[in-house]
Symmetry: C2
Subunit: 121 residues, 2 copies
Amino acid sequence: MATTVQRHSPPTSGQEAGSEPCWPALSEAPLRRADAETLAGVLRAIADPARLQLISLIQAARGGEACVCDLVDPLGLSQPTVSHHLKVLLDAGLVSRCRRGSWAYYRLVPERLAALAQLLA
Amino acid sequence: MATTVQRHSPPTSGQEAGSEPCWPALSEAPLRRADAETLAGVLRAIADPARLQLISLIQAARGGEACVCDLVDPLGLSQPTVSHHLKVLLDAGLVSRCRRGSWAYYRLVPERLAALAQLLA
DNA sequence: GTGAGACATCGACACCTGTCGATATTCTCC
DNA sequence: GGAGAATATCGACAGGTGTCGATGTCTCAC
């Protein structure tokens, strides 16, 4: 397959989705199906034991960030599986990634978690 | 099959699980696997578009309660499916059920939702 | 450039979950 | 007690998801 060159993009600043701090409030009466799907998508991202542990581990890490190799052992899962879970959290906008050299450092996006919390309150 | 008599219990007051208002905080460092599983179980209950809509509909209903027949049409799902989703919410302790006559009225358990919200904050 | 290490992606598999129609259960009312 | 209505349960099916080993893609050090 013709491998396109695909130059590495500059260290991503993370949160592309930072412009939408909150979702339609759960208390605002008849939640539309489309909104419910969006919300459920984000909630499903944290509704997994491994990913909850990842969030906990990242938050507890010094500097508030952790690389994959720091997370594999505490989770007791294989490296590909941990990468997979981190990607799910990344796609949901709950964590941000920052490559430094060979390492990929992940940190939480607190606004995103706060928005989720506010939604349930 | 020998149908045991199974007399109907008095109208359940709901929240058997009311004695445990909150879970291990997500911010309290290394979340144990067992705790993560418990948490994920509750989160998975609300990480579904149909169930989010159910919560929204019940909250918006007059009196803060709704019976199944009020929920089937707005959701656009079959009655068995709606019953299934309500059971999931019930098992997670997020709603309570109260039978009056042939009708089953569901209402939210706000403390449970608040505890979830606090956990993410 | 070459080798080694960190991470991402792929393909495959088992298991879970949402959905439905059919049916059972439980109540009310005559 | 028998008919009818509201709800719960059952069995089956399709689609989604977590997990792994194997492999690809970068980056750094020499």
